[in-house]
C-alpha cells in the first residue's frame, strides 16, 4: 500500500485514505436492542416490576382460551346435546360438542397452552415477591393474587384433562404436570410427567387457602379474599368435602358484604347496560373492554340481534326448546332467551364486551344449601332459605321443602351456560347425553403437540 501512495497525487492519497476509513469497522453499531421488549434479567428488579408482572398474570388468564371464555364454553359444550344445538364451524368445538374429540383438538391445545402460560407468569411473580417491600399488605396481596390465579388454572386443568374425583383412585390417576417455578433455560426438568389428581388438588387447596389468608377484602378489578374462598368452595365440592365447601361458601356470604342483585337480568349485558361496570354479585370475573380482551362466551353463544345494538357473535350455540322447558313459568330466567331467525339464544352472552363471569355470589348460596342439606347442618342458613333466596330473585315463589334434587336443578338453571355443565355432571355422577359421567370421551385429550414433544406425558384413555 505504501508504495502505491508514493506514486500518487494528493487527490489519490486523500481518496484512498477516505476509502480505508470507509472500510474500517463500526462494530458498535451492531449493539442494538429490541424496542417493544426488554431483557429478562432486567424485567423483575423492583416492586413495580413485580406488580406489572402480576397484571400480566391477569392478562394471561384473560386469554380467550382460558377464563376469557373457552374453558367455560368447553364445559358447556362437551356432550351437551340436550341443551344446545351447536352449529359452529370450529372443528375443535364441534368435535367437543359431539364428543368426537381427537388428540389434536385445537381448543384442548390452546387452553392447555394458555393455562400454563399463565402459570409461568404467576411463577415469575412468586419468585420475585420478595422485591415487594413497601408494605406487608402489598406483598401479601401480590403473593395471594399470584397463588389464586395459578391455583385456579391448575384446578381448571385437572377438571378438564384428568379423570374426575371419584372415578377410580384419584391418588393414582394422572392429573396434570405441577409447575411451580418460572422457566429459565429449558432443561430436562422442563419435560415433566403428570402429577396425580390428588397431588394437583392438594396443591390447589394449599395455594387457595394461603391466597385467602393473604388477599385483601376489596381489590378493584383484581382477585379478593372472597374470590379465593369461592374458588375453594368449588374445589371442596369436587372432593365431596361438603363441610369445607359449606364453610368456604359461608365465609363469602357472611363476610364479603356482597348481595344478590334483585334483578337477575341486570347481571348481564354489562357493557351495554352497565357501561362496563362489574355487577356487585360477581366474585371473580374477567374484564373485557373494547381495548382489551375477548369474551369467547359471546363469540360462540352470542348473536347479532338487530333490536339490541351492540350485540354480536357467531350464533353457534342455539338453545334447545327442551332446555327452556325446564324453567317454571314465571321464571325470569325462562324469559332470558331471545328468539331470532327461528332459534333461541341465551341473553347471558350477547354482549361483546363487559365481564366474563367466573364465579357469582348466587352459586355460594346454592353450594351452602347443598352442603348443609347433605350434612344435615344449617350453617349460615337453612338449605331451604338459601334455595328460596335464589328462586325469589328469579321471580319464583318459595318452596316449602328443599330436596337435593331441587337444589341441584336450581343450580343447573341458575348457572346455565356459565361453564359449569360438564363438571356438575361429573360431580353429581349424572350421565351426559348417552355417555356415563366418567366416560373417557368427556375428558379432553392431552394436546397431541404436548405428548409429541414431552415423552414423559401419558395420554388420556381413548386418544
Amino acid at each position: 500500500m505504501k508504495i502505491l501512495i508514493h506514486n500518487m497525487s494528493n487527490y489519490y492519497k486523500a481518496f484512498l485514505l477516505m476509502s480505508i476509513i470507509t472500510l474500517a469497522g463500526c462494530e458498535k453499531k451492531l449493539d442494538i436492542s429490541p424496542y417493544q421488549s426488554i431483557a429478562d434479567d432486567k424485567a423483575l428488579l423492583n416492586e413495580s416490576d413485580v406488580q406489572v408482572t402480576l397484571v400480566g398474570c391477569y392478562d394471561g388468564i384473560q386469554s380467550a382460551a382460558a377464563y376469557g371464555g373457552d374453558i367455560l364454553v368447553l364445559n358447556d359444550l362437551i356432550g351437551n346435546t340436550a341443551d344446545i344445538n351447536f352449529t359452529g364451524t370450529f372443528a375443535g368445538l364441534s368435535d367437543a360438542y359431539q364428543t368426537q374429540m381427537t388428540a389434536d383438538n385445537s381448543f384442548a391445545r390452546d387452553t392447555w397452552i394458555a393455562a400454563y402460560n399463565t402459570i409461568n407468569r404467576c411463577n415469575n411473580v412468586l419468585s420475585a415477591v420478595d422485591k415487594v417491600t413497601s408494605s406487608t399488605a402489598k406483598k401479601n396481596s401480590v403473593e395471594g393474587q399470584a397463588l389464586f390465579l395459578r391455583a385456579s388454572m391448575f384446578f381448571e386443568l385437572v377438571k378438564l384433562y384428568a379423570k374426575a374425583v371419584g372415578d377410580g383412585d384419584y391418588s393414582a390417576n394422572p392429573g396434570v404436570p405441577l409447575i411451580l417455578t418460572p422457566t429459565g433455560n429449558v432443561t430436562d426438568a422442563d419435560y415433566p410427567a403428570r402429577a396425580t389428581v390428588k397431588a394437583v388438588y392438594d396443591k390447589v387447596i394449599a395455594d387457595l387457602v394461603k391466597a385467602e389468608s393473604l388477599l385483601p377484602t376489596t381489590n378493584g378489578n383484581y382477585a379478593t379474599k372472597w374470590a379465593a374462598a369461592a374458588q375453594l368452595s368449588r374445589v371442596y365440592l369436587m372432593l365431596k368435602d361438603y363441610a369445607a365447601a359449606r364453610d368456604a361458601a359461608d365465609r363469602v356470604i357472611a363476610s364479603s358484604g356482597k348481595t344478590l342483585n334483585p334483578d337477575f337480568t341486570k347481571l348481564w349485558f354489562t357493557f351495554i347496560n352497565n357501561g362496563g361496570a362489574t355487577p356487585a354479585e360477581y366474585l371473580f370475573s374477567m374484564k373485557v373492554t373494547s381495548q382489551d380482551g375477548t369474551n369467547s362466551q359471546n363469540t360462540y353463544f352470542g348473536r347479532t340481534i338487530g333490536t339490541i345494538p351492540g350485540t354480536a357473535g357467531r350464533s353457534d350455540c342455539k338453545i334447545k326448546a327442551a332446555h327452556i322447558a325446564q324453567y317454571e313459568n314465571g321464571d325470569v330466567r325462562k324469559g332470558f332467551f331471545v328468539l331470532n331467525g327461528g332459534n333461541y339464544y341465551t341473553q347471558k352472552h350477547l354482549d361483546r364486551f363487559g365481564d366474563v363471569a367466573v364465579i357469582r355470589l348466587a352459586e355460594m348460596y346454592l353450594t351452602r344449601a347443598e352442603a348443609n342439606l347433605r350434612l344435615g347442618t344449617i350453617v349460615g342458613a337453612t338449605p331451604l332459605a338459601d334455595l328460596n333466596r335464589i328462586r325469589n330473585r328469579a321471580g319464583l315463589p318459595s318452596l316449602l321443602l328443599a330436596t337435593l334434587a331441587d337444589i341441584t336443578k336450581e343450580r343447573a338453571l341458575e348457572l346455565a351456560f356459565e361453564g359449569q355443565k360438564l363438571i356438575e355432571a361429573k360431580r353429581l355422577q349424572t350421565p351426559v347425553g348417552t355417555l356415563a359421567w366418567n366416560d373417557p370421551k368427556l375428558i379432553l385429550p392431552i394436546p397431541r403437540r404436548e405428548v409429541d414433544v414431552n415423552k414423559n406425558l401419558v395420554q388420556n384413555q381413548g386418544y
Binding site: 508504495i3 397484571v55 352449529t87 429459565g184 381495548q291 409429541d452
Partner: protein
Amino acid sequence: MRKKLLAVLCMCAIVVVGHSQTTVSGKITDAATGLPLAGVTVKGKGTAVASVSDADGKYSIKLAASVKTLIFSFVGYTDFEAAVRAGNLDVSLTNAVSNLTEVIVTGFGGSQIKRELTGNIARVRGKDIEYLPTPSVDAALQGKAAGVFVNSQSGKLGQAVTVRVRGNSSISANSQPLYVLDGIPMTANSQSSYGGATNPLTDLNPNDIESIEVLKDASAGAIFGSRAANGVVLITTKRGKAGKTSVTFNYQTGSSEASKRIKMLNSQEYATLILEGAKYRDDLDGTPLNDPSSWTTYVKNDVMDYYSYGGWSKDPTKTYDWQDQVFQKGPYRQADLQIKGGSERTKFFSSFQQLDQTGTMIGNKISRTTGRLNIDQKANDWLDLGVSLSLSRTFNQRLPDDNAFSNPLQAIALMPMTPFTDPNTGLPAGTPPGDVNIPIYYNPVITVNYASYAQDVYRTFGNAYLKANLMKGLNFQTEFGVDYLSQNEEGYFQSQTVRNQSRASSGLGSNRGAFVTNYNTQSYFSYNTVIKQKHNISATLGMQYQQSQAKYNYIEGTSFPSNSYQKIASAATKSDGSTSQSDFRFLSYFVRANYTYNEKYILALSSRIDQSSRFGKNSRSGFFPAASAGWILTNERFLENSKAVSFLKLRASYGVVGNAEIGNFPQLGLFSGDAGYAGAAGQRPSQLRNDNLKWETTKQFDIGLDFGFLKNRITGEIDYYNKQTDGLLLNVNIPATTGFTSMVRNVGKLENKGFELVLNTQNLVGAFKWSTTFNIARNIGKVKDIQGQIIEGGVSSMNRVQEGYGVGVFFTPEFAGVDPANGNALFYLNTKKADGSLDRATTSNYNLAQRIVAGDPNPKYIFGFTNTFSYKGFDASIFFNGVSGNQNNIYGMGRYSSASMLYEDNNTADQLGRWQKPGDVTNIPQVRLYRVNGSQASSRYIVDGSYIRLRSASIGYTFGSKQLSKFKIERMRIYVSGQNLLTITKYPYWDPEVNADSFDSNIAKGNDFYTPPQPRTFLVGVNVSF
C-alpha cells in the same frame, strides 16, 4: 519486495508495448442493421491485449507479430475471429446464437463472461420478461431459470410469491432468496397486516431490468456470506449508452379472467344430499320424517326454505352458482415509456410506467406508477460517478385473507338455493336492513360493497456511486444506497358488514403505517491485471454495512356518526393504537480473487465475514469461504479444432454460506410490555434466551459441464449439486408447561441434492428462425435430523417436518375409502407391527389411525420450455412451465364441501357419488347431517398438484424503418399475447399453483383454502421506437 514486483509488472507492460509490430484498425458494424457497434472488445487470440470500439464502431489495436488471430466479442453477438492483417479490417458481427458470450454480473462490481464462469449463475435477460402482465419480477422468473422454483400462490393481485432456489434449505428461517437491486439488499418481506402477505418486489418496474442473475451455488453466493444460503437474486437495471437518444413507447391492454370454475351441486342435488343426511339422523332417532321435530322438517323449513327467503319450496330447481357473483373479467392496461442515450461522458436511462389491473375476483385492483432515472457521468479520466433513482407508487385494493368468510371465493360455500339478492330489499343477500343471518354464512359481496381495505406504498430505490481509477488495473468504488418503503393501509368497514366484522356495528376504521428504511453502504477495491499475456488475475476486497429500520404505527376507531364518516377523526371510540419498531444490522468484509491461465484453467476464491445484530455476542461473527475451478477443454489442443464440439468447460465449486433470516433478536430472553389488563399496564415473559444462537450453515458442492456443439447452435449446462445444511435455526416446540410453546435453537440438518439441465438450441437459423430453450431441475430435499422435534403448520397442522422427507410434507391418517356394508369412512391403522411393517387393517375409529406421510408439497421436477420464432417482421413465442411430483392439500375447502353434510355448505358435484345403500362401492362416505363421517383430516384431501401450463404465448409483427420513416418512427411492433392459456392437470379445484395466504409459512405449502386461481390474461400491445 512489493516495489520489485511492481517494477517487474511495469517492465512487462513496457515489453509488451515495445515488441508490438502490427497495428490493425477498422470499423465494426451489426451484420443485420449495418449500424456501428460501440463497446466491442477486440483482442489478440491467446493474449490479453485488447481494445474497445468507440461510439462510431471504430477500433485500433497494436499486436505483437506472433499474434495471428483477432477475436471480436460483444455481448449478445457471436464472437468473430479474423486473421491479423496490418491496416484496415472492417468486420460485422451477427447476433449471438448462444449465451456463452454474455457478461454475468457477480456482485460488488464484479462481472464475468459466461464462458469463464466457474460458479453456477442463472441469467435471465430483462428482454425475456419484458411487458409480461406479471406485476413482480420474481413471478416473471417462473420457468426461466433452472432450479428456481416459483409459486405465485394466489390470483390476488400483488400477493406474496414463493421462490426457492435449489430447494428449501431452511425450516423456520426465511427461505426466500436475497434480492439485491443495483447493489442494495432489498426489503422483500411483506409489510401487509391484512389479507395475507404482499410482495414488496411489486414496487419495482420489471421493464427497468437489464438482467437478473440468480446465484445458485456456494461459489457464486459466498460473497454474500450469511445471507446467500437461499440463493441471491441480483437485479441490474438498464443504463444509458453513448449514442443517439432513443425513445420507446409501449402500450398494452387486455383483460384477465379466472380460468376455471368448480362444479358444485345444483339446488335439487343439494336437497337430495341434505335430506338424505337428515333421514339418516331421523332413522337413528326413530323420528318419522314428517314429524315437526324431525331433522327432515328442520332441514326443509329452517335450512333450505329459510336460507332461500322461502324460495326453495316454491321452486326447488332454482339454482344460484355463487362463483358467478365473485369472479369477474378484469381489465388490464399498461403504458411504458423508456428514454435512453448519452454522450461519451454522460449516459442516462429513464423510464415511466403506469399499470392498472383489475383482479379476477370482485373488489381487487392494483395500480402502479413508476419513474426511474439512471445517470452515469465520467468526471475526468480517473473518476466516474452515477446515480440510480426509482420512485414508485403501488396502490392495491386488497381482498381479505383466504380463511375469512369475507373472502369472495368463500361464497362458493353458500347454498345453491340462496338467491344473490334479498327479494325483500333488492340488496345483496344478508345486507341490512334485510335479514343479516341469511345466507348460511356471511355473504362476501357485502364486504366488497360496503368495506374497503387499501394498501398504498411509496417506494424509493436510490443508489449513488463514485468509482476512482487509482492506478492501472486498480479501482476503488464506494456506493451508498437506500431502499425506502412507506406504506399506508387504510381500512373501513361499514355497519352493513357487522355479521363479519362484529366490531363494525357503527363503523370500524383502521389506519396503519409502515416505514421501512434500509440503507446500505459498500466500498471495495478491485484489481485486474494480465501477466505475461497468460495469467489473468482479478481481485476484489471490500466491506458492506447494512442497516434496516422498520417503524410501524396503527390506530383503529369505532363508533362513527354514519358510514359517510370514514376517517378516525370522526370515531367516537379510538379502540386500538400502537407504535413499534424493529431494527437489524449487518457488517461484513469480503474478498474475492479470480485467476485464469491461458483461457484454459480458471480458479476463483472468495470469502466473507459477516457480523449481525441478530446473534448473541458469543457467536456474532461468521466466516464463509468458497472455491471453484474450471477447465475449458475446447481451448486444449485435442479439442481446439473439433467441428462438433465448439465449447466444453468442466467446472466445480465448494463453499459455505449462511442463512440469517430468522427475524430480529431471536437470541435474547425477553419480557414484553403488551400484557396490560383492564386498563393497567402489564408485562409478561415473551421469549426464552439462547446465548448460543447463530446462523444456519449450508455447505454446497456443485459440479457442472457447460457445452456448445455445432458452432454453438446447441449449448447448455448440466449441473449436479449437493447442499448440506446444518445448525438449522428451528423454532423448536417445547412443552407448553414451560409457559412457552417454542424457542429458537440451532438444531437439525437437511440436505438438497439435485441436477439441473439447460439446453438452448437454434433449430432454424435462416430467414425463418426457430430457437428453443429448455430447462429442467430435479431437487431431492430431505430433512436429516430435527432431533425429534415436532414442527407442524398449515391447514389443520397437516404440513410437517418429518425426518427422511422434504420440508412440510403432509402428515395425516390414510383414508381407506368407505365400508360397503354401512357407509362408514375407513382409515388404515398403519400402526407398527412387531416385525416393523405397518398394519394395513382398516378402522372407522379415526383416533386409532396413525398418521403417515401422505404427500409432499415440494415438486420433484420443475421445468420451463420456450420456443421463439421469427420470420421477416413476424415473431412469436410460446412458453410452457410446469411442476410434477407434488401434492396439494384441499382440506381447507374439502372439510366443508366434501364432508357428508357435516355442515350446510354446498358440496362439490363429485359428492353425488356417495354411499347410499349396503353394497355400494365408493370413496365417498354416507351423508350424515351434522355428523362426522370421513371429514377428518386425512389423505382423502391430499391430491396431485402437478401441472403443465402454457404460461405465455405471443405473436407480433415489427414494421421496418423503411415502412415507417415518413412517420419519423424507427421501429414499431404490434403484438397479441396471452398468459395462463392452458393448464394440464388432474387437480380438482381451481388452480394447482396455490398456497393459502392464511396459512403460508416456510413449511406450510401446497394448501388450498378457497384460494383464488391465477388469472388468464389476453393482451394486445404496440411498441414504438423513435
